[in-house]
Amino acid sequence: MYETNFHKASTAQDAAALLAKSDDGKILAGGQTLIPTMKQRLAAPADLVDLSRAEALRGVTITKRKKMGIMKADGGETITIGAMTTHAEVAGNTELAQVCPVICGLAGNIGDPAVRHRGTIGGSVANNDPAADYPAALLALGATIHTNSRDIAAEDYFKGMFLTALDDMEIITAVSFQAPVVGGYGKFPNPASRYAMAGVFVAKSVDGEVRVSVTGAGDNGVYRHAGLEAALSADWSASAVDAVEVSADGLMSDLHGTAAYRANLIKVMAKRALA
């Protein structure tokens, strides 16, 4: 690892101020990608601004849709997850599990226990690894990414492999979305890295809109799958997926599998997401 200056920030504002002072600063939001990359000497930020003490950026809030009713998992609750909330905290949040179990299940399958206890949703979304799980969830859930300067719709946020709408000095503070009426995530882990080789997130919103997003398989990061969305809008079932032609065009081929194999995985994972 190259030498770097380590700073601790207790708020997003502090972090922004520290970043502004650095020529080449990076936010450390768990560091589960950044630190290994630095150890391999593939990244060399002059300054690291650690947000792990920024308590205000941490935690899950759930706003019920019906003011008087008992909280029920019928969708529509507004869920806000602080950027520095770890995967383990999302996975283990029992209230969240009642209104949006799919996000808890997804978080509980990221990496290994060490990763889940350090890695955060903000870090994952800011990095936008093309095989990460959260981008698929946020895109399918129509989430909003909140930063220290604005709100960005997920649709406008993910710009391709490791690319996002974030400006250099912009810091994610939280993500929010409405709990879907029904949602599911099917993930096929890469045998070596255990990142998604194909991860398919299916969600139906309270308005009846169906969104299907795919991570890990595309050659330019997370994307929505129009064919699957159309099929599931008409018929929310695994058999509807069978009829969909999933093309290998635009999918990744590498030493772990061909584009044709990934196309197959997209269908299989979509069906498993619905199961």
Binding site: Y2, P191, A192, S193, H256, G257, T258, Y261
Partner: protein, 786 residues
């Protein structure tokens, strides 16, 4: 005897390992220690045009930057291959020069070009990056078949066509004749995938030159420190043998990769002398992928013929072995004498012929990796047997059984003379444990869940304990393969065993103590095992080839024989009895049939006080012995693997793995089971997970754990491990060796099971989900076409 042979004694070494108190090379800090980093080639094949070190030298804290031409000028020798293999036309092998630091050309990504010595690791790395090397890139070839093709890029001038040797074993004409008249011939293309060894502890070295004493010390991660000292002194001229101490302290796994003396140790010792600093170098994981000798990488075609009754009449194999960019220490022996000599498997085969071409490519050198040649042989014969049974419509276990060797000794047509075994007993034990009879019902039940279930056998035999020195010498080995031991009984009766074997995970501190405990009736607590230091142990050949039991312990037994003889003489003298009447039992030395005895420690004291020992006897109680094995040993067994395949994804789960092994005498069943578990884990790793992949430019695409799939706990089944043993007649303890069997026997069982499940035999290792799914699609499109 609770701690003797056969007892499940807990490992003495585990307290320090489990509590993080092990002392590994990188834990050791010498006074005035500097750190080395290597400038490595980013190209797989290139000519070095110029090297500019000025920017690196200008960095504060940089001690020196040293390069190949200076190393050569200082008389540091090229890296050797310790086994000369002769081609079938009688010519010697075409060995290209390998300098510890490249002089004119680099031949693989990671080839060392310069060593940078600096005050800290981070300065050394920064400075290494600041060394500017100008390369002229050359065309690259990474596969053995491609390297042999006409017009392929040439690596070494003295190896035309990249051919190192073209070797054969067995008789061609009778084999061809037998195959020509066979009732059935099975022919297959068989690839054995390239593996990276991945010991938990990466390689490391600390080199020190003490000018005042004119003495060198090298701490290194070695499986054989004495061999390292011999080679470093006699061949590389970095230090005279008597002025070089090599210490291999706790070593965290080797699997073969730490047998060899690599460029880094040579360069560190040389640079220590040049700079006057102690120099530490520790590989990181990426460096390990790029520079640790890889294993396997065979491409073969194989033919086996049967008569109308299913008896084997002949076997013919053609193999291309990729040895990488340079010849590593035992690289020539692995695809020849450790491979083709085992092609007879457990079977009576009258005619065998094998041709092996060893080839240079722009890849990491390939050498012995757990099993070393025998896994490749086992994979060939056991894939052939399973496939032939399917083609002939026979039960694969019955086809094997009717061809078993049943009388011993058995001379195969390919050098080996099997000394013992009961292959049918292992097969029966494995079949019973695996409930083979119930397989059809399990397959049907799996089908009801949408899963494809398959079962595969592997009846392996391998050769360990290598080997009689005269025999290996006649086959081209540059060393003898005996082992030495010294038994030191202290005046208080405690014992130190000095052994030339080296433990890097095998548990010698426990098992070696057990055989001493058994012999003299002492607690293992009173026995200390000393190894891994050339100043303490006089000489040794080290640990590889599952030899520490059959050879290393045999040397201890021979030394104990001498100690016992002297103890009896002393006791007979003191107790005024005949030597033949003295027995050693339960920590006492007794006159049989009387109540006269000396306690063990009283004999020790008597030997050292020397007040009352037989006239003319030398005082003290210390004996040493060298043991040269009389033959290879032949562990064998039957493995049965059962898998379930998810046809939608190709994901394959090993749902049952049964092993029945014949290891001869077992000292500590717990440690043996651990060896089998670890071996099978690596075998399943090879069969389903692990693969070194190069792109056409010679870049390793799989050089991190993001892309190289190491076996993890959730990839592996619970093992069902059993033993049906015959005693090895070749050594005093009757041991055969257990360290490699699991890795040798398991890959064909796994692939035979998966191909059985999916109904397509065209499947190569590693059988990843993508590979299995693709093979399934091929079957389906074939079925659809029919």
């Amino acid at each position: 005897m609770s701690e003797g042979i056969g007892a499940r004694v807990l490992r003495k070494e585990d307290k320090r390992f489990i509590t993080g108190k092990g002392r590994y090379t990188d834990d050791i800090v010498e006074a005035n220690q500097a750190y080395a980093a290597f400038v490595r080639s980013p190209h797989a094949h290139a000519r070095i045009i110029a090297i500019d070190t000025s920017a690196a030298m200008a960095i504060e804290g940089v001690e020196t930057v040293l390069m190949g031409p200076e190393l050569v000028a200082d008389g540091i020798g090229n890296i050797i291959c310790g086994w000369g293999v002769t081609s079938k036309d009688g010519s010697a092998m075409n060995m290209g020069a390998w300098s510890a630091l490249a002089t004119d050309k680099v031949r693989y990504v990671g080839d060392a070009v310069a060593i940078v010595v600096a005050d800290s690791k981070s300065i050394a790395k920064l400075a290494a990056e600041a060394v500017v090397v100008t390369y002229e890139e050359l065309p690259v070839v990474v596969g053995s078949v491609q390297a042999l093709a006409k017009g392929a890029p040439q690596l070494h001038d003295n190896a035309p066509g990249n051919l190192i040797f073209d070797w054969e074993i067995g008789d061609l004409a009778p084999t061809d004749a037998a195959l020509a008249t066979a009732a059935h011939v099975t022919e297959m293309d068989i690839t054995n995938n390239r593996l990276a060894p991945n010991p938990m502890e990466p390689r490391s070295a600390i080199a020190t030159f003490n000018e005042a004493e004119d003495h060198y010390t090298l701490y290194t991660t070695s499986q054989n420190p004495h061999v390292a000292r011999l080679v470093l002194s006699a061949f590389y001229n970095v230090a005279p043998e008597h002025k070089l101490r090599v210490i291999a302290p706790d070593v965290g796994g080797g699997f073969g990769s730490k047998i060899y003396i690599y460029p880094e140790e040579i360069a560190c010792l040389w640079a220590a002398m040049k700079s006057g600093r102690s120099i530490k170098w520790t590989s990181d994981r990426t460096e390990a992928f790029l520079t640790d000798a890889h294993g396997r990488d065979h491409v073969s075609t194989a033919k086996i013929g049967f008569d109308k009754d299913g008896m084997i009449v002949g076997l013919k194999v053609d193999t291309k072995a990729n040895l990488g960019a340079y010849m590593s220490l035992f690289s020539s022996a692995v695809p020849t004498y450790l491979y083709a000599t085992l092609l007879s498997g457990q079977y009576n085969i009258a005619n065998i012929y094998c041709n092996v071409q060893a080839v240079y490519t722009n890849t990491v050198p390939v050498d012995a990796y757990r099993g070393a040649g025998r896994p490749e042989a086992c994979y060939v014969i056991e894939r052939l047997m399973e496939t032939a049974a399917r083609e002939m419509g026979m039960d694969p276990s019955e086809l094997r059984a009717k061809n078993f060797v049943t009388s011993f000794p058995h001379q195969t047509p390919v050098i080996m003379a099997y000394d013992s075994g009961d292959f049918a007993a292992n097969q029966k034990q494995a079949q019973d444990a695996a409930d083979v009879a119930g397989f059809a019902a399990r397959k049907a039940e799996a089908a009801s869940r949408g899963k494809l279930r398959g079962l595969g056998y592997s009846n392996y035999i391998e050769a360990c304990g290598i080997a009689p020195s005269a025999a290996v010498g006649s086959l081209g080995a540059g060393v003898g393969l005996w082992e030495s031991a010294e038994v030191r009984v202290n005046p208080v009766g405690t014992i130190e065993i000095l052994t030339g074997s080296h433990s890097h995970g095998q548990g010698h501190e426990t098992t070696f103590a057990q055989i001493v405990a058994e012999r003299f009736g002492l607690p293992t607590e009173n026995i200390q095992i000393v190894h891994g230091d050339t100043d303490k142990v006089q000489f040794g050949m080290g640990t590889y080839g599952s030899r520490s039991g059959a050879v290393g312990m045999s040397a201890i037994v021979k030394a104990m024989d001498k100690v016992e003889a002297k103890v009896k003489k002393i006791a007979a003298h003191v107790l005024e009895a005949g030597e033949d009447d003295i027995v050693i039992e339960g920590g006492a030395v007794k006159v049989a049939g009387t109540d006269k005895q000396m306690l063990w420690h009283e004999v020790g004291l008597a030997a050292y006080t020397a007040h009352n020992i037989p006239a003319g006897m030398e005082p003290g109680l210390k004996e040493s012995a060298f043991y040269d094995p009389t033959n290879f040993t032949f562990p064998a067994g039957c493995y049965i693997c059962e898998v379930e395949v998810d046809p939608d994804t190709g994901v394959t789960e090993v749902v049952q793995f049964v092993a029945s092994d014949d290891f001869g005498t077992i000292i500590n069943p717990m440690i043996v089971e651990g060896q089998v578990h670890g071996g099978i884990a690596q075998g399943i790793g090879q069969a389903m997970l692990e693969n070194v992949v190069y792109d056409d430019a010679g870049q390793q695409l799989s050089a991190s754990y993001m892309d190289y799939t190491m076996p993890r706990a959730d990839d592996l089944p619970n093992y069902s491990v059993h033993h049906a043993s015959t005693t090895c007649p070749g050594n005093p303890l009757g041991m055969k060796g257990c360290g490699e069997a699991g890795a040798i026997g398991s890959p064909p069982a796994v692939i035979n099971a998966i191909t059985d499940a999916i109904g397509n035999n065209n499947l190569s290792m590693p059988a990843t989900p993508a590979a299995v799914w693709t093979a399934l699609q091929d079957v389906r499109s074939k079925l659809a076409a029919e």
